[in-house]
Symmetry: C2
Subunit: 138 residues, 2 copies
DNA sequence: GCAGACCTTCGTCTAACACGAAGGTAAGTA
DNA sequence: TACTTACCTTCGTGTTAGACGAAGGTCTGC
């Protein structure tokens, strides 16, 4: 089973630009070409790509992902470093989720604030209207 | 109580570059200057900045934040649009948290995988060692 | 035998900063 | 007074991770 770059893009929810970018930067070294030089992707490539997407979306840089992939290719001696990388990524992702939840609270507050104004038909000028009261809404 | 740009940067965990960038792009229109033309920040500026940080970290573009701020300055007629913006942001943030949690599962799997290899002193070559088995680790 | 739909590579453009350089000002100190 | 240190400013370029258009090749269907 093989896929075109467009099929892969759709399957993984990323752009063809990104896929070429990853390929050009050595992050997909096994992608084959057909007689017309078109990239052809196998399921294993898809798996790798989805790992790349996972790492990118959790904030790992392209450079670091490339390094991680190089480590894998170097073999068993690099398992310690790979382990460290994934631990760091785990921690960072947990921290980001926590951050987002905090920010979500602020946004929830804003939504409720506006909803109550709209419901009660209370104009904002009910409260002295200036930017200050708007800013964080504590 | 006023603050220097460095104090604000430290307080909010962002760079002075970012603060100047936001200021230069009209997102902090009330920041005053001292006799030497240095920016001086008040608590209300801090509140605004922390709202900017919240929106940026939940993925709103600088341009959209500027627009939101313009809406606030335009007054009560824009509450509907502001409400819509915050609702969209709320939804997007919820989606991103969900995404991150999914990715975290994948990373957790990797961490456990490496941990078990290191604990049992099992070399990776125990399993036919190639990139494929590494990729997602399902 | 040509249009349309793909594909490629190449090159420029963008957002949101990051950072260095050049130069001004203020405070501490020898 | 002169000098150093430590800020600040503006200006301009560099970076990351793509997004996108243009030019041109190739396959397919009519």
């Amino acid at each position: 089973m093989t896929y075109t770059i467009h099929e892969v893009a759709e399957k993984l929810g990323i752009s063809t630009y990104s896929i070429r970018y990853y390929n050009d930067h050595g992050m997909l070294p096994f992608v084959q070409r057909d007689a017309n030089n078109n990239r052809i992707f196998h399921d294993t490539d898809l798996e790798w790509l989805s790992m790349i997407v996972c790492l990118r979306e959790t904030g790992m840089s392209v450079k670091a992902i490339k390094h991680y992939q190089d480590l894998i290719q170097e073999g068993d001696d690099t398992i310690n470093e790979r382990y460290a990388m994934m631990c760091a990524q785990q921690e960072q992702t947990l921290a980001e989720i926590a951050d987002l939840k905090k920010h979500l609270d602020t946004i929830n507050y804003k939504v409720a604030h506006y909803a109550s104004i709209l419901e009660n038909n209370e104009p904002d000028s009910f409260v002295p209207s200036n930017l200050r009261t708007e800013a964080v809404g504590k």
